[in-house]
Amino acid sequence: MRSFLAAFFVMLYAPIVTLVAFSFNDSKRNIVWRGFTTKYYAKAAANESLIEAFANSLTIAAVNMVASVALGVAAAVLLWRFRFPFRHAADGMMSLPIVIPEICLGVALLVFFNQWWPRDLAWPLSLGNIIIAHITFTFPFVAVIVRGRLASVNRELEKAAMDLGASEWQAMRDVLLPQIRPSIIAGALIAFTLSLDDFVITYFTAGPNSITLPVKINSMVRFSVTPEVNAASTVLIVITVIAAVLAMRFQTARRA
């Protein structure tokens, strides 16, 4: 049993550990260990197009996070609060982007934006279509997470607040929001992570002037997997892992 578990973790993490380890390897090739160095991080940091891609990625992820949270929380609260015709259908439709194969969504978005999205926009507007694409597949995650939390919220709480004199907005702010805040933060971090490391959908929607970090890494790998790629990948891993751990913490946070 123990050895099985050990094998399981080796399978899971050996590639990642290797990738991170070789980002510190003092060699041009990822084959033999030649000693510890951080020079490839410096090299990556000096690579202007890599840094530009990284800045693009962070910008997209940040804007996407804000928009996804706004949309996702609104959708979750509306679906929880109101009964209306086709509510269950709307509920299902909303989570469709989660299960649709990414490649299909990527092609669909490519065709969609090709019709009317203007080229040669100034930064950061040039990232607009990628941001919109990311919102379509990340906001359902926010909605699903927030709805999970809402399911355990007592509907009488808001009514009690209104009974005590609060307006609908005050009741939402003072009573509902504190109840679902951990799930909102968790959803935001997940939206950020998903956007930051998305490749497939971004690959289809990115133009030549709007490259993101995963797309850039992909194009670098085409020539050769240098430790510089490892270094860039490691940075990406660290950011996403931190965000994911935080997200999980907020999601399982106990109610005060």
Partner: protein, 361 residues
């Protein structure tokens, strides 16, 4: 005694689709009274409460408070507060902040807020628990928070939706007494919804018995129990022997009842023409055949004991007085040595003529 009506409900209806949850109800709620809405689940009592509280808009009808129409006012604009069935204590606020919430919304100045919250805390005896959170409180304490939170707003009318249903039996009895005491202390009109008739009878000044969206009888607990106006009320409130009654051949307001023989319509004993005769189990007396107990009435019937259930304080018998006619008899165990008849024994059942109630359909 005529009392001033605080709330006048006139012809109010609430339909959910085709279902008529509340159907053409008119009702006066007096100032400072303790009114209970009693009924089986689905009778519309909670909907009526929510209509008064402003959480539902009536399909038809008017609700006036002090003569002013309030049907269009949202809950946060009514001088009415509610204690919810789940108590709805805000889980992210401590007891003190829960109680202060309504006053903060009203922007009550800090010194007055503090004074009123302190007052409310000691009114419901939550002293020392002010910094606790909902999950650190017992069910009874949560209810006190909900009460204090509503009362601190000094409403004209306090609505309580099944306030005791979440508590265990012992605590429920204590809280019944406390609610009545609280009502006497604060001098606010209480309207309580419950499906528990013991609760209704013990707390209320008046009880409205509801069934399928309408009020069947609105009366004092005593009248409700001793002079129910319909078969439904007689059956729903307390235990009741209900037997079909036919006009006796001789006429003159007498009725023939299987098992009880011929009975006269006593004055004030309900509807004419009657279809049913009813008598409470504790108003029947059991004695050995031929012997009359000291407090027996003028009427008797021979019977065979079919079932005996011992409840501690009383023993409940099911006796057969005629083929297919069974009466439930409750005898108090007023002595430790009281001996109940055993199953199969023949007994005589005695009752007073005035204890028989005649009921319409």
């Amino acid at each position: 005694m005529t009392r001033r009506a605080l709330i006048e409900v006139r012809g109010i209806s609430k339909h959910f689709g085709r279902e008529k949850a509340v159907n053409d109800v008119s009702l006066d709620i007096y100032d400072k009274e303790f009114l209970v809405l009693l009924g089986p689940s689905g009778c519309g009592k909670t909907t009526l409460l929510r209509l008064i509280g402003g959480f539902e808009n009536p399909t038809e009808g008017v609700i006036r408070m002090d003569g002013r129409d309030i049907a269009a006012l949202p809950p946060n604009k009514r001088p009415v507060n509610m204690v919810f069935q789940s108590y709805a204590v805000f889980p992210h606020m401590n007891v003190r902040d829960n109680i202060a919430y309504g006053l903060r919304i009203d922007r009550v100045a800090a010194p007055e807020l503090k004074r009123r919250v302190d007052e409310a805390v000691s009114l419901v005896q939550l002293d020392g628990l002010e910094t606790r959170f909902s999950h650190q409180l017992s069910g009874g304490q949560r209810q006190r928070v909900a009460l204090a939170r509503a009362l601190v707003k000094r409403p004209r009318l306090l609505l309580l939706d099944e306030p005791l249903s979440a508590l265990d039996a012992k605590l429920r009895e204590t809280m019944q007494n406390e609610l009545v005491k609280l009502h006497n202390t604060v001098g606010i009109t209480f309207v309580v919804v419950t499906h528990d008739q013991d609760e209704a009878l013990s707390m209320a000044e008046r009880v409205a018995v509801m069934e399928s969206g309408g009020i069947r009888q609105l009366d004092t607990p005593r009248n409700l129990y001793e002079a129910p106006s319909s078969r439904f009320v007689a059956d729903f409130v307390g235990r009741m022997n209900i037997l079909p009654a036919r006009p006796a051949p001789g006429g003159d307001g007498r009725y023939a009842v299987d098992g009880l023989g011929e009975i006269a319509a006593a004055s004030g004993s309900g509807a004419a023409p009657a279809s049913f005769a009813a008598i409470r189990p504790e108003k029947l007396r059991i004695a050995a055949p031929g012997a009359a107990p000291s407090d027996a009435g003028a009427h008797s019937a021979e019977a065979a004991v079919e079932n005996v259930s011992y409840y501690g304080g009383q023993t409940v018998l099911s006796v057969c007085v005629a083929v297919g006619v069974n009466l439930t008899v409750a005898t108090p165990n007023s002595s430790r040595n009281a001996v109940a008849p055993s199953v199969g024994e023949r007994v005589t059942v005695w009752w007073r003529g005035e204890d028989v109630i005649l009921l319409g359909e």
